[in-house]
Amino acid sequence: MSIAAALPRASQREQVEAPGRAAPAWPLYAVTLSSACIVVGLLWDISWHSTIGRDSFWTAPHLLEQLGAVVAGVSCGWLVLDTTFAGAAAARAASVRFWGFRGPLGAWVTIWGTFVMITSAPFDDWWHNAYGLDVKIVSPPHMVLALGMIAVELGAILMVLAAQNRARDRAGVRALGGTYAFAGGVLVTMLATLISEYASRPNEMHNPLFYKVAAGTFPLVLVAFARSGRLRFPAAAAAAVYMAIMLAMIWILQLFPAVPRLAPIYVAVTHMVPPSFPLLLVVPALGIDLLVGSALGRRGWLVSAAAGLLFVALLLAMQWFFGEFLLSPAARNYFFAGDQWAYLARPGPWRYQFWGVPKDALGNLDVGALARGLGIAGLIGMASARLGLWWGNGMSRVMR
């Protein structure tokens, strides 16, 4: 794979070396770990709501999310103040200006995200009082919170990227490329969680909406990573991190006994309810890595169209049959965590059926409607990939 396409263009221009010590590296790692805490806290919180139900500001998963937000925000705040008032010339040179202060771009995005997360708290509280507790992921206050979380994660990505793009030696590029894949994997996990109401349950894997939502979400980030990462397979690495986080959550959560503390209970759960088995995203991500790294990678519109279609085709190939497996009795075990439902899910045959499958009047699979749906998913994937390519081009040039 040629990494020429992934090389930052700005680095090919004349370098202006600045004297003195560079900015400290710890805020970068603090923010990256914080963003991971936020995602783990979010998955834990969803499991908490599915298992225990009883909620307060002070539940352990909420504290983990808040800790992540605070550590990320404070680290970046310190970095900005240090760079502005006490920073060496090198640190100041590798920063951008914001209302008179100086700091790396990623630090500003993280600080902004922290403020958005804080803002969502009173909004969410009012929402609960006005409309009732929103026991779902996609609601206006939750989307404000999610925007803040994504911004914190994006800030981590940008800080790692700038360091990766400035790195000269091979070991530095490898290490920072790996950190970038980790930060990227955290973002993929976040996005996968946000769309999990539409694109995570095996029951949805024969529903064209599953492919439309996934195609609108994942090619955007995977193509951007493939273009801007310096590992051999950056998108696949990020997808692997996503799968690893999800698997760890599935396997760890199930170890903890817990019972519902709210009614109505329709499922007598005995331990923390895990999320669904992760999407097998490594395969479509690897396809995108190969495509973006190939000679086609220079032709923006063409590679975007190909990446969008390839993503949907590979996702379909993986999830269509894997979904059937996950619904089968063979998946009802610790490893695959199949057939696990929140305590307030009413029992019914729907748990073991595919939802939203296009069917004809006789109840058979309507292949035409399915093909149309998948075609639309392909078009959405193309648009998503094109945006991802623009974004990736921009990110591959970030130096500060």
Partner: protein
Amino acid sequence: MTALRARLLGVAAVVALCSAHVGSPDVWYEGAAGPYRVLVYVRLPGVVPGIADVNVQVVGDTPDRVTAVVNLFDATAGTPPPDVAAPTPGAEGWYHASLWIMAPGSNSVTVAVTGARGTGEVVVPVAAVATRRLPLARSLGAVLVGVGAFLVAGLVTIAGAAVRESVLPPGASPSRRRVWAARAAMAGTATVTALLLVGGRVWWDSEDAGFDAELYRPFATAASVRQAGDRRVLDLAITDSAWLRRADTAWTRHHRRNAWSPLVSDHGKLMHLFLVRTDMEGFAHLHPATDDSVRFTDTLPPLPAGRYRVFADIVHESGFAKTLVASVELPDLTAGTAPDPAGDDGFFVGRAARAAPSGGSVATLADGATVTWERSAAPLLEGAPAPLAFTVREPDGRPAVLEPYLGMPAHAAVARDDGGVFVHLHPMGTVSPAAQATFTLRGPADTVPGVVGRKVARADSAMLGMAHMSSAGRVSFPYAFPAPGRYRIWVQVRHGGRVETAAFDAQVGAAPRTG
């Protein structure tokens, strides 16, 4: 934030609707919990999921432990562990717990008292529904708009910095062209953000409209009067598709309705219907009969002409009690036939009892007996326990012997003059005994409609046979007026074999603002 500002300007009015009863959603229960006598007051959240305030008083006992737990009527996999109710600071003998109600519909609050006399339990039925829209407080709206503007400005600045400087090697200065590109990026970001905020507002509005559509409303109902021989007959028909098409599974699935639940008889009657003239000078408590659970019919007593509000209490087998609301214009019926004096229907025409200077007021019944409202001169306040205690005396002043009226020592109907509040009370409180029975009698296998209803009907007729003796002609109703205003209270007892009604007026003031 456009959406927030719009929200601020177009503040939605608070819509106070009803569940069981009208405009009076809170639940009062007084009765036995095993060997203990308890008073339970549940303040509902107005939205679901939301937190209900459960208050318990154990009368004449100091318990070791009071617990409470909420459950939905058809939960199939057990009950969560109960919460321990903590003593309420500043209210001797009261215990308090905050409980989440997660699912709308017929819920129960089970209160258990443990003390020297063992453990006693009681189930209080609670109809949990969304009943109100909360406007966004101006102060909070202003804070959110301010913070939103700050965040948008920050985002635009970040976009500018990203284009102007972030792609430059450390130390390099942006070219003039790059500076202009940054300005363009800031303008573009501002535009996209504005579009997103508009989209957010549309989303919020649609969520709000969806919430409004799901707000609890009783079935649409129509009332009319017709002549049948020498009788004037009141017809009350449920006209709501949700009830008329309840057995049409395609319709119910399309409209996302839950499985329907048949009606059960509540202390002897399938429906308790109240007529209240708009000036409150005419009142009747009737029990229409039905063949199909859709059309309910009863003979009208001799009431003066005028427009009447109709409130009809029914109870579903799920335990959900509701009050149907309608309106009807009555012709002059005063020359009509009076109801069977030995029957269960009662009516009252005329003014309320005048208040005595001491605070109480005395009403004289048709047979010469008197009903005295035992209250001090202290004003009545919204939300505060109301002293609704009455003593019935024979014409010679001795305490009267009250006969059970539909299984109860007494009934009371409370209405506000604008029709915004109506509640049907018993000495056991606001709860319907049938609703309570649906919870206590429902077995784990009772999943077929009608099974619980038959059990409730059997228990109901057994209860009607029991003689409830009130001590020394005294009856009281646990209740708190939900809102300020001018109210009338009709107290009904069976005395000398007849249903007798006394009317009292009450002026309820706003609660003093705290905090």
